[in-house]
Amino acid sequence: MASIIEQGEACMMPPMEVDIEDLDELVRGRVVVAMSGGVDSSVTAAFVAQKGWDAVGISMRLYATPPSSYTKSCCSPDDLFDARMVADTLGIPFYVANYQDEFKARVIDYFVEEYKRGRTPNPCVACNNHLKFDILLKRSLALGATYLATGHFARIDRSGDVPVMRTGLDENKDQSYFLFGIPREALSRIVFPLGELTKEEVREYASGMNLETAEKPESQEICFVEGRSYRDFLEERIKQGDSVPGKFMHVDGQVLGEHDGIHQFTIGQRKGLGLSWHEPLYVQAIRPEEGTVVVGPKRGLFARGLVAERCNWLSFERPPGILECEARIRYRSKPVKAVVTVGEDASLAMVEFEEPQRAVAPGQAVVFYRGDEVLGGGWIEEARV
């Protein structure tokens, strides 16, 4: 550590009035950087600050962490301190925005409710849709920002008439799957400075710039479950009487046993069913109305298509006719060729895969691509066998 106080600007308390270098007076040119305290968003902030833009760091406080927990999960005070120190090193203003209520309502409660309904939620997409690219974006604009910058590995191509979202160049890190729900009008207000970098390059930049977060390990888990498994997290929140118990039923109609609640299961799951059978059994469907978990052999897991609802389109207001594209049905799976037909209002989409796909899970997102262009996406409602 070089010193406790970086630069003179860090201590602008008394004497009462100090002239600090004039930040960009004008509204234009201000960029809010969403800073989580991780290495990606730290480097994002550094890039924005180095461009000479009027950078402002904001961390979203999404849930409370007990002081006895030293795990550096996203949003713990330690992460916010990390972000604060990075901002201080960069000499940019930094604030913490308290979105705990919104996060609970829009992400945590949604997460639990979806499992209760036998679906497989995607909290990261929900957080992007409702927190980062909705309330944080609006707040950034209210602070006079022209752009909101985040450390996502994705790109916004501004070379054409309208901005277009593209995948991150680092295929291993591409996060476009989580970003399909950004309102199309918002694309012009967003920058992803890391979209052309690899994770290794990001870390190199971070160490080169001596950012406090350069060596910080990657967070992998769902942030708010904090070290526990998400199963334990769910068990704490879904009390008896609130869960939907029922029967295990084989696809051939035979009842194989009973379970305590459909929230314990995900489409495609094999482990932890506690059923003995002459061949491996997989969860093929969950029927929340009667609490039935339908199981069967692997071959029955494949779906020829799916129905998606609440679609959001990034490249156009609605697809021009039938859309031939590639569809990705889970993060990190490879997009596969598909034909998409949309309904009247373009929020409902029927997707037919060229090749049947394994474990299409209601509640997950389906995201449509054409090459590296991210066309849009929607929420999987049901698999079509």
């Binding site: 308390m13 008394p14 604030y95 913490v96 209210a142 602070l143």
Partner: protein, 386 residues
């Protein structure tokens, strides 16, 4: 862009006299005040001079002044030792009563004591943050042994009738404590005349250093220490004294003695000017949240119609105006003020409050400039209303 600091109730800029005294102490009084040699004697004299200066500033005997690490520590010591020893002293179970607008260093201690089985009770306030003396009387009838009500509130600026409360407590044989941190240097604080049994002080809200304060104890009352391990402050607050900080506290207290009258006038002028400018720019579209009759002149707790407090604070900071709202948690995010909640505002509404607090030395030109930046920020937030 020059920054304008309107958060004196969080902490005030150091007075030049204070800074000079601290530097002088660092250079000239490096000893341990408990040592008998010359270095120790120098340090000791700094501490005793400060004790006298504080005593003069609040009209108390010097022996009543126990130097400590600030009002949070002092409040803890008074409340916790009362809970522990009241049984022996009064021969009855303690019942500790405080207002629901106390500083967290009172209210949260009272809550913790309550969880530990001590009888405690919180006094409500009305929509203007005022306390009903009859409610205090009822608690005294119920056997209250210690009542704690602050002299002036840090968030809404209300001044409470501490002399009336003290005499009410005396009538029932209960002890009365008041935290006078926000009152010091802004209004006359007369320990002797107010009749309180305990008073706590920090000096950094009016230009003294942080991390130093005092407990003032009425003669005849035994104040037990919370810590063991030293005879300092007659055993009531052991630990080697932070001599430079104590020197600064003394210098701050002397400034109070000299300048209180001038400061009070200066605050009145600044308040009128700031409120006048806001009214001129924004009409009636903002509301003050405080007792219109009894408040500190330097504190303006205000909600602007249709503007969120947190958004406005950030916008103001970016525009070079330092203000505050509620209290920040460790991580720095904002919670609605418990004071405004106690006044009966819903959480969302409470979050609209921001606090502008200035000092007698805030330049008038800064007050004018701050008003204009607030008006701009409010106008823009309204235009961009989410």
């Amino acid at each position: 862009m020059n920054r304008i600091y309107l958060d004196w109730n969080a902490t005030a800029p150091l007075l030049p006299e204070v800074k000079a005294a601290m530097i002088a102490a660092l250079d000239d009084a490096p000893g341990n005040a408990s040592s008998i040699h010359r270095e120790g004697q120098r340090a000791r004299s700094v501490i005793e001079r400060t004790r006298r200066a504080i005593a003069r500033a609040i009209n108390a005997p010097p022996q009543a002044v126990v130097l400590c690490g600030g009002a949070t520590e002092g409040n803890n010591q008074i409340l916790r030792t009362h809970a522990a020893f009241a049984g022996q002293k009064f021969g009855k179970k303690p019942l500790i009563v405080c207002s629901s607008v106390e500083h967290p260093s009172v209210i949260e201690v009272v809550e913790v004591l309550g969880e530990q089985g001590v009888q405690v009770s919180l006094l409500g306030v009305d929509r203007l943050g005022r306390i009903d003396l009859e409610e205090i009387r009822a608690q005294l009838e119920a056997g209250a042994t210690l009542v704690s009500v602050m002299w002036a509130n840090n968030e809404c600026g209300n001044i409470y009738p501490v002399a009336d409360i003290a005499s009410l407590c005396r009538e029932y044989g209960a002890l009365f404590h008041t935290d006078a941190t926000q009152a010091l240097g802004r209004i006359e604080v007369d320990f002797d005349a107010c009749g309180a049994d305990y008073m706590t002080l920090s000096l950094h809200k009016m230009g003294g250093p942080k991390g130093v304060g005092a407990i003032v104890v009425r003669e005849g009352i035994v104040l037990e220490a919370m810590l063991a391990g030293g005879h300092q402050e007659r055993g009531r607050r052991p630990g080697t004294e932070n001599v430079p900080a104590v020197a600064g506290a003394g210098a701050a207290a002397l400034q109070v003695v000299d300048k209180l009258g001038v400061w009070h006038e200066a605050l009145a002028e600044r308040r009128e000017r700031l409120l006048g400018a806001l009214t001129k720019g924004l009409g009636e579209s903002f509301k003050l949240r405080q007792d219109p009759e009894n408040h500190l002149l330097n504190t303006i707790n205000v909600a602007f119609d249709k503007v969120g407090g947190e958004d406005l604070l950030l916008a103001l900071d970016l525009a070079g105006v330092s203000a505050s709202s509620g209290s920040a948690c460790t991580a720095g995010s904002l919670e609605p003020s418990h004071v405004i909640l106690a006044m009966g505002y819903e959480a969302e509404d409470a979050k609209r409050s921001i606090r502008l607090s200035f000092g007698p030395l805030t330049p008038l030109s800064s007050i004018d400039e701050a008003a204009s930046r607030v008006i701009d920020a409010v106008t823009r937030q309204r235009a961009l209303a989410l």
